[in-house]
Subunit: 242 residues, 2 copies
DNA sequence: CGTCGTGTTGAACCTAGTCAATTTCCGTGG
DNA sequence: CCACGGAAATTGACTAGGTTCAACACGACG
């Protein structure tokens, strides 16, 4: 089988097999892709978007801003993730989505997507699945934030990120490219920048990871996963009739 | 209009208007209800359920257990919430659902639900919406856990709980019945029991709430919401074509 | 009347946050 | 090739928010 290039098809094929007809239907969707620079807003809280969007390249983040200027990232997205299927049904965005790195995003008009899901039940379910997986990730983040110490939390995040990227062939052996600053990492983990710095150093000293210049190398995945209590099942990285 | 008694219909009517035909389809679903005692497991991590379930009365909680015996509650559910639509598409549960109080749960076979969503696009979307609202709540929890001090977090939780219950007429003026122990509250908020105790006292001293014997009374919602940075929009408590 | 679960309190401890300074890295222009 | 400036990483000292441990009070229940 030739490597599929349509990002939508690749996104959904992660979770189940698609028929030729379904592929055709997906290919027929009017995608318009756009390049965005790091930190550009993709969608703003309060918006009522007319398009949904799929991340084709780079990273995107969901963010919520607090009154006092603090920021929390509630999920991070890798190529192949839908970063906004919510607005198709919820209509009003309750959070922001920003370009976490320079990235490429494909926009799909809600109208076309609505027609697609009304006509293709199976595709509709698979789109639903993508939002359910996002929710599973959110739950894992809640547990890390609520009950794990900083070092385990960071370890868990690295395991998750690595596993998600690897699931799409975006790893490079046991390292990944992830150009987040420590400030941004703090917004992901709910920690201060200083503490992020010290926690990374702790993982380094334990010989579990290297992290330099936007390249994260996992030196001992098993030990890292063990310390983090990481079980990849929640990522649902398998094909199954749905 | 007569008060609707079918819990499924009430659940979906929160988000959009239903046609008579849709109501009939929902009424035709084979519900089997069951009474559960507090702390009984409704679904266990790793299960591959054959039924989805809807909470009819009482509270239910999603929980994740850590290696060291710690526990985190990742979402709380009130009557009218689906507590397991996930397994319909994700197949394998990545977390537990337990009876948070004595409660009544309606089970619906996956087969019947699948037929329903294949036949009724609009109902399918509304079911999807319920999972999206859950995800929105998860995001709010992440932000509270990551970036808010304990007192604001607790205030936010109370605002959320009150608003969700009020949306279903389950409030009693400005108080609600919520029989959680402080240990359980700790599992919700990601705090130690002792700190929960002290934080509740802080809110009491500020004149914002009373909390005694399972009854939470909000003495000044505006001030409470203000301190918590609570904006109810994410709960999507309105009817809108979806 | 004893026991257990829950709420409450105090004190010691520790993880993580804050503030401020310093160093490293990197891109730019000369 | 080097000097400069700004962003990011790192470090130290101090503080604060939150945890832990232990004790005690209270009420429900057998």
């Amino acid at each position: 089988m030739a490597e599929e290039v349509n990002p939508l098809i690749r996104a959904l094929e992660q979770y189940d097999v698609l028929s030729d007809e379904e592929r055709d239907a997906l290919r027929a969707l009017p995608l318009r892709t756009r390049l965005l620079q790091k930190n550009e807003e993709i969608i703003r809280e309060g918006d009522r978007p007319t398009h949904s969007c799929l991340l084709v390249a780079g990273f995107a983040a969901r963010t919520q801003n607090l009154e006092d200027g603090k920021r929390q990232i509630t999920n991070l997205h890798a190529p192949g993730d839908f970063v906004d299927l919510h607005s198709l049904l919820l209509k009003r965005m309750d959070h922001n989505v920003i370009a976490f790195s320079d990235c490429e995003v494909a926009f799909i008009p809600h109208g076309a997507l609505r027609e697609l899901i009304d006509r293709h039940n199976h595709l509709s379910r698979l789109l639903w699945v993508t939002t359910l997986v996002d929710a599973a990730i959110d739950r894992a983040w809640i547990t890390c934030l609520g009950r794990r110490p900083a070092i385990d939390h960071l370890a868990h995040f690295i395991c998750e990120l690595f596993t998600r990227l690897k699931g799409r062939g975006l790893n490079d052996g046991n390292s990944i490219l992830f150009g987040a600053t420590q400030v941004e990492l703090g917004d992901i983990l709910g920690m201060s920048t200083v503490h992020v710095n010290r926690t990374i150093q702790d993982l380094r000293k334990l010989g579990l990871i290297d992290w330099e210049a936007g390249r994260v190398t996992i030196r001992d995945f098993d030990r890292l996963a063990d310390r983090a209590g990481f079980d990849p099942a929640y990522l649902n990285q398998w094909v199954e009739p749905r």
